[in-house]
Amino acid sequence: MIPASFDYEVAESAEHAIALLTEHGDEAKLLAGGHSLIPMMRFRLATPTVLVDVGRLDDLRYINADNGTISIGALTRHSELEHSQLLAQSCPMMASVAALVGDPAVRHRGTLGGTLAHSDPASDLPAAVLALGGTIVARGPGGDREIAATDFFTGYFESALADDEMIVEVRVPAGDAGWNYQKFNRRAQDWAIVGVAVADAGAGVSLVNMGSTPLRASAVEAAVASGASAADAAAVAAEGLQPPSDLNADADYRRHLARVFTQRALNAAGVA
């Protein structure tokens, strides 16, 4: 519970952070809300030798709407998503999912950029961004590039980000048609044992903690698109997936839960 020793740098700007990342290479880690990184350091599962603190970059804390696209700064806290009037009107799913992350202390520290970069298959907001068909804007030494959420999560706690890149913005389409998020856990502050996000009346469906990455349930999406009932679409929710086994659920039970909650989410999103 005591982290190994490390150096600490405060970034003055995104560019400064990227310069520090370039300088220190893969020894360095960005520190945003710290609510994933610091626990891992305390368990000594992560031992970066340099922390680059981007938590004070307030110019990357914003939620804007423009032409049907919502742009969210990477350092926006979960609690800011949860309480945003703009999101409540234009993309209620993001606000509603944010409200289910951890507990209030976690939501006041954790950031949207951090939770995406961390690429934990059990996290909530990545599933929302995936189901909504969002885009992640990464900045590197050579400038900005856009990464579709569907291309972003590449492996277990791995993303398409390069070592010297930083997420600066996340974009999701505005809309409040036919969405729902089901999160199944044992205690209010816990990660989902299984979660299901449905956007756009079943056109976008994603699953939490059902594989090594946050993932799109493409079989369900296809079934909905072809006019299947919610029950029939949910029946294929776990098809081809290799969900993890842990203390809360083994793989079989997870597959069962994925079917149950996909059906509940589709029903709640208006798919009969």
Binding site: I2, F43, L247, V260
Partner: protein, 793 residues
């Protein structure tokens, strides 16, 4: 909360005076303290469940800045010589008890067993150093499961003891009568239950700071402990430091639940090193470390059988227990199953009793007392079995209980296990709970949902319990081979300005003694509770005491305070009589003044007496100055709190998820001093009991690795999971002590576990489920449904 000052304080809610310091961070815990020149201990803990220690290599650790020394168990052995950690409860004369050194020298016996020690200048350096020490292990076969431990050919935890059984303890007053009752029974219920191991998780893990007086030869030991007094004696005995040279201080202590009722390796280690090196030595436990370095609770396999006649009246109960001691016997490890061993007939009038416990070593962290200690296990077994009996007889759970309750007019009642129960009206308590729960309406809802085949089924769970608190009297403890008495000490000292100091030998660590004791004294003396200071938890201030555990504080320690205040009043009365030139028998004490009965103008206020006692200018002939009294109270019997709890759960049959939708607790803890504290104890206790039912489980792999070492994996429920409790009291004062009090610290935990599981089983019985293992996680419940339905699991 605003509260107006009541006429008498006892019996009215009063905000806890302890809380402002705790809530504002002013309270000092061990880790807040710091002494000049202190060194930190980092402990290297075994990663193997059972292994020979071939070598300890500290060279990499010694390279780290701030690391001063790396010491193996063998290096440290001379510090304690033969002095092993104490077990104070050798329950049988032939009990097997292996020597237990603070740091293992040759064989590590469980994951978490201390195998080496790093001394460093900071906590961080100590942690870095401990992580860098490499230990060469030669693994031995591990014994993890208790039933496997007693099987033929099981590997031995302690090779030289020759067996894994530590002891067998029977309590079978009349074996033939039991056999006969079973032979003649119309209904026999026979069940096997598993009490999983629990990890106590007080807000504050443990911590130790040992400070030597180099010139004086004294040791001041600060420890996050429930038992400074017992720790002082045991440290003296273990390390051979003269007892009068030891002072033990428990500063603010963030909860214990029994896990700080112990004498731990780290306390002895830091003390020994401090005395040896002549510098303060300290250690703070991390949360993950606590999962294996601090004792665990429960850990039993229970077989219970009930023999009943055709009306469901139980004639005999027969119990066989296997209790998991872990690798070593800590302070009262072997006694914990016995504390339940007298209570397997529950609150029922059962004629014949058979209890036998075999306690077994395994390669796991030692178990010991954890909130309820033995009584939750007993209550669970009886209350689950009574529900099974109700099904067999074809009556409701409340009816089977009513048919078997000890009658209200039967007290004092001698139980088949040989205890004398003090007072109670178990039927009245159950009736009140049934009414509060609105049982009829809940049953109607349940029936409807069953008929509808709803995927949200309702279950109703009863738990009627009786427990025993205030371990006493001392001579009965002797017959149980318990290594201490059951008394408690108190001093009440009136200061010259009529303010009062109370010194209690009871050691609060969250219970609110300061508030409650001040209310008791204030009422008796007719003064304001704020004029009463309560001192405790430092053996230099409170030299005599037996500390806090087993719901004993009020019934034993509070009674001592009550009686010491009486003694003060007796002396004050003599002074008053002298001043008023009246006969002391003609005086009455009204609103803080002595007055001559019938002549209220002839009166002398308490403040005047206090000052007179101090100046000693004019005291009765031969009277000693000052107004102060000391009492050591040894109660004549236990007290027997009881109650009925009803849990209503909703089970999502698609997922197995259980939600407690209503929880009613009616408890008889005798007279209540501060009902707000009573209610708080019930709330916390119930959640802790529900936690065993639904959430908590110390999970070990087959080879003895523990999996649940942080609060992400070990599921302590939070306020969000707590049911919306509805709590009520029913008072039958205990005749055992002058205040008529019983105890409430453990009642909620004792009652709640079977209430919740009975409710889950009740919800699922129509689906063919008759048992659900604890914790009843969604996956476990879902599997139980599937298996009962003959489906795939």
């Amino acid at each position: 909360m605003t509260m107006t000052e009541p006429e008498t304080h006892v019996g009215s809610p009063r905000l806890r005076r302890e809380d402002p310091a705790l809530l504002t961070g002013e309270a000092q815990f061990i880790d807040d303290m710091s002494l000049h020149g202190e060194i930190w201990v980092g402990i290297v803990r075994s990663t193997e469940a059972h292994a020979t220690i071939l070598g300890v290599d500290g060279s990499a650790a010694l390279e780290i800045d701030g690391v001063a020394e790396v010491l193996s168990g063998a290096d440290l052995a001379p510090l304690w010589g033969e002095g092993a950690l104490p077990c104070a409860w050798p329950v049988t004369d032939d009990m097997r008890n292996p020597p237990h050194l603070p740091v293992a020298t040759s064989v590590a016996k469980y994951v978490g067993d201390a195998v080496a020690v790093v001394l460093a200048t900071s906590r961080y350096a100590a942690a870095d150093g401990a992580a860098a020490v490499s230990v060469d292990y030669d693994p031995l076969p591990a014994v993890v499961d208790v039933e496997a431990a007693v099987a033929d050919g099981a590997p031995l935890v302690h090779e030289d003891l020759g067996a894994n059984e530590s002891y067998t303890w029977p309590l079978i007053p009349d074996p033939e009568a039991v056999d006969e009752a079973f032979a003649n029974a119309a209904h026999v219920v026979s069940e096997r239950y598993v009490q999983q191991r629990l990890i106590p998780a007080p807000m504050e893990p443990r911590g130790v700071l040992a400070a030597p007086g180099v010139a004086s030869g004294e040791l001041t030991l600060y420890s996050a402990t429930q038992i400074p007094h017992i720790l002082k004696v045991m440290t003296a005995v273990t390390l051979g430091i003269p007892e009068h040279k030891i002072r033990v201080v428990a500063p603010s202590v963030g909860g214990g639940f029994g896990c700080k009722l112990n004498v731990y390796a780290e306390e002895i280690l830091c003390s020994a090193l401090a005395m040896d090196r002549g510098v303060p030595v300290r250690w703070t436990e991390s949360r993950s470390e606590a999962a294996t370095a601090t004792i665990q609770g429960r850990g039993q396999v229970q077989h219970i059988e009930l023999a009943a006649d055709d009306t469901g009246k139980v004639q005999a109960v027969r119990v066989k227990l296997l209790a998991d001691m872990g690798a070593y016997l800590q302070l009262v490890t072997p006694g914990v199953p016995l504390l339940g061993g007298f209570l397997y007939h529950g609150c029922y009038d059962i004629a014949h009793y058979s209890f036998e416990c075999t306690s077994v070593f395994t390669n796991k962290t030692p178990t010991d007392a954890y909130r309820g200690a033995g009584r939750p296990e007993a209550t669970y077994a009886v209350e689950r079995a009574m529900d099974s009996l109700a099904v067999a007889v074809g009556v409701t759970p409340e009816e089977i209980r009513s048919r078997n309750f000890i009658a209200a007019d039967a007290f004092p009642y001698e139980s088949c296990a040989g205890l004398i129960f003090d007072s109670g009206d178990y039927q009245a308590v159950l009736d009140k709970a049934v009414e509060m729960a609105g049982l009829e309406g809940v049953r109607a809802d349940q029936t409807q949902r069953r008929a509808d085949g709803s995927n949200r089924q309702i279950g109703i769970g009863f738990s009627s319990y009786v427990e025993m608190c205030g371990l006493a009297p001392s001579r009965v403890l002797a017959s149980l081979n318990y290594g201490a008495g059951g008394w408690e000490a108190a001093t009440v000292r009136v200061l010259p300005t009529a303010k009062v100091q109370v010194i209690t030998g009871s050691t609060p660590h969250g219970q609110g003694h300061e508030t409650s004791w001040s209310m008791i004294v204030a009422d008796k003396l007719g003064i304001d509770p704020d004029d009463v200071e309560v001192l405790h938890s430092d053996t230099a201030i409170s030299p005599t005491g037996l500390d806090t555990y087993g719901s004993r504080s009020l019934s034993v320690g509070g009674t001592a305070v009550f009686m010491a205040t009486d003694k003060v009043l007796d002396k004050a009365r003599l002074i008053a009589a002298h001043q008023l030139e009246a006969n002391e028998d003609d005086l009455e004490y009204v609103d803080g003044s002595f007055q001559v009965r019938g002549t209220p103008t002839a009166s002398v206020p308490f403040a005047a007496i206090a000052f007179a006692a101090f100046t000693a200018h004019d005291l009765p002939e031969g009277m000693e100055p000052n107004l102060e009294a000391h009492v050591t109270y040894d109660p004549p019997n236990f007290t027997f709190p009881n109650g009925t709890h009803i849990a209503v759960v909703e089970v999502d049959t698609d997922t197995g998820d259980v939600d407690i939708v209503d929880y009613v607790a009616v408890d008889d803890c005798g007279n209540q001093v501060n009902p707000m504290i009573v209610e708080g104890q019930v709330h916390g206790g119930v959640l802790q009991g529900a936690a065993q039912a639904l959430y908590e489980d110390a999970v070990y792999t087959e080879d003895g690795q523990i999996v649940t070492v942080n609060l992400g994996d070990y599921l302590v429920p939070s306020a969000a999971e707590a049911p919306a409790y509805r709590v009520a009291g029913h008072v039958t004062p205990s005749p055992t002590n002058p205040m008529g009090v019983k105890g409430i610290g453990e009642a909620g935990t004792i009652a709640a576990t079977p209430a919740v599981i009975n409710a889950v089983v009740d919800a699922l019985r129509p689906m063919g489920v008759s048992d659900v293992a604890m914790p009843a996680s969604p996956q476990t419940v879902w599997r139980a449904i599937n298996e009962a339905q003959g489906g795939a699991s």
